[in-house]
């Protein structure tokens, strides 16, 4: 594929994603969501992501704690270790790493499921049965992702800080009361708030990209594989890029 064709495909995808967002807004404004489907999707997203979210949160907190300690120890600032972990986990690492993990785990599953439905004509069947694919497939996944991502991120942040506290206290020998006090005094309410606001956006990005890739999936088994890979890659890139702009915007607005 030439660079021009790739660029054209990329812009076409961006256009499709925008139209899908518009259709989601129209659906939310005019059609009552089936909450049973939303709850099922929340269960699917939440439960299926538990292992990756728990492991990612805990080990990120632990390694961040250890690495910060090794640096701070040189300048006798051991007690600042947990403060760094807390701020980084709340505002950046918690939401971004949870977003990337959910994009890999759930985004791929959603793109594969909807893509398979497309190549087996089930999406066409939905349309002939007077059901709009956005109402039936996209909106429940979008709402579920929108509501579940913040919960998963809070879980990841809490586990990360908890695991870091254990590492700091029992492995690195940092004074517990001092480290805890420093952490509380240096973590502003804006840090977790920034992180949680980001997760709503990340959830929306994963749902829209994964559903769009599924709905526009090329024919055949290869097409489904292609759509799945693209869903993960594009949503991960979109999370990383939007994170920078969100950090700049939210810090300007909130601080």
């Amino acid at each position: 594929m030439t660079s021009l064709a790739k660029a054209r495909d990329w812009f076409a995808g961006l256009g499709r994603g925008t139209l899908l967002c518009r259709e989601i807004v129209v659906s939310l404004a005019t059609v009552k969501p089936v909450w049973r489907d939303v709850v099922y999707q929340m269960y699917f997203i939440g439960v299926k992501s538990q292992s990756v979210v728990v492991i990612t949160g805990m080990f990120t907190g632990m390694v961040l704690c250890a690495q910060s300690y090794f640096q701070f120890h040189r300048v006798k600032m051991d007690s600042a270790t947990l403060a760094v972990v807390s701020v980084a986990m709340c505002s950046e690492l918690g939401p971004v790493l949870t977003g990337l993990m959910v994009a890999g785990r759930v985004g791929a599953a959603v793109a594969a499921e909807i893509g398979t439905m497309r190549v087996t004509e089930q999406i066409d069947a939905l349309r002939t049965l007077a059901a709009h694919p956005v109402d039936y497939l996209v909106v429940p996944r979008f709402l579920a992702m929108f509501l579940t991502m913040p919960l998963l991120t809070v879980e990841s942040i809490s586990l990360g800080i908890g695991a870091a506290y254990l590492v700091a206290s029992f492995l690195l020998g940092i004074n517990q009361a001092d480290a805890w006090h420093q952490m509380i005094s240096h973590t502003d309410v804006i840090d977790p708030l920034t992180g949680i606001i980001k997760t709503f956006i990340f959830g929306g990005i994963i749902a829209v990209v994964a559903c769009d890739k599924g709905l526009s999936c090329p024919q055949g088994a290869e097409g489904v594989g292609h759509a799945t890979t693209e869903a993960v890659v594009y949503s991960s890139i979109a999370i990383l890029i939007s994170n920078f702009f969100l950090t700049m915007l939210l810090n300007t607005l909130l601080r």
């Binding site: 066409d124 349309r127 709009h132 039936y136």
Partner: protein
């Protein structure tokens, strides 16, 4: 006219699949569209129900122009249609009962008990009583087609479209599907269009046959006329005779 297809054109890249296709179908008529595989029959069927938009031309359903119509308004028009897909297109995650009663459940106007009764009734019509709790993966190809047929007719549509209803089935299963389609036409007095390359099936389920050849309607005749035709293209298709292969053709 129930269905009016006016000068419809459709291309995919450089390939022109439909080239000024023009025909209409009256209410209650049973029509078969025949033609070679890959000749655009299924594409034409999907144009009629608004799943694909034409590049040029218009399609009118019951006097209403559906070309260029917004998808949400099209959903209302599609309520008039039932469609049986080539590979049945049953929803994998739903059992037979939920597949067949899908539209009635989604609309939310019919009580659950009434839906269950109607699902039982229509499954009996297609000879699959008692299979309500089975999943699509547990069914054979012929059974899946029957469930697809039940799903397409449960809400009493005015038009039923069949995309290759007998393809991939053994002759006995294909025959039973033909009988069911005839039964549906007689029972519900629906307008029906079946796309097929199975000539025996076309003869059994229709009173009028359209032949699609090189993107155009090449013939529009009764089944008897088609079977007696001496036109070389129709004759070869009906009798399954390939174009003569030249001496220098490498096979």
């Amino acid at each position: 006219m129930m269905i009016d297809v006016r000068n419809v054109q459709k291309s995919f890249g450089a390939l022109r699949v439909l080239d000024r296709v023009d025909f209409s179908v009256e209410k209650g008529q049973a029509v078969a569209i025949i033609g070679v595989s890959g000749g655009g029959k299924s594409i034409l069927l999907k144009h009629i129900i608004g799943l694909i938009a034409p590049d040029a031309g218009e399609i009118h359903i019951d006097g209403q122009k559906i070309t260029g119509m917004d998808e949400r308004r099209l959903l209302q028009v599609r309520r008039k249609f039932g469609m049986l897909f080539q590979a049945s297109a049953l929803f994998d995650s739903l059992n037979v009962e939920d597949n067949v009663g899908f539209l009635l459940r989604r609309e939310g106007r019919t009580p659950a008990a009434e839906i269950a009764r109607r699902v039982g009734e229509v499954l009996e019509l297609v000879g699959l009583e008692g299979t309500q709790k089975k999943m699509p993966a547990e069914l054979s190809g012929g059974m899946r087609k029957r469930v697809g047929l039940a799903r397409a007719v449960i809400y009493r549509p005015e038009i039923v479209l069949y995309d290759e209803p007998t393809t991939g089935l053994d002759p006995i299963a294909a025959d039973s599907i033909d009988q069911l389609i005839s039964r549906v036409v007689d029972t519900f007095q629906v307008t029906s269009i079946a796309v097929t390359h199975d000539m025996r099936s076309a003869r059994r389920i229709s009173r009028r046959i359209l032949m699609l050849h090189q993107g155009r309607i090449y013939a529009d005749q009764t089944p008897d006329e088609i079977f007696k035709s001496t036109d070389p293209i129709i004759y070869r298709f009906v009798n399954g005779i390939a174009e003569p292969i030249g001496k220098n053709t490498f096979v």
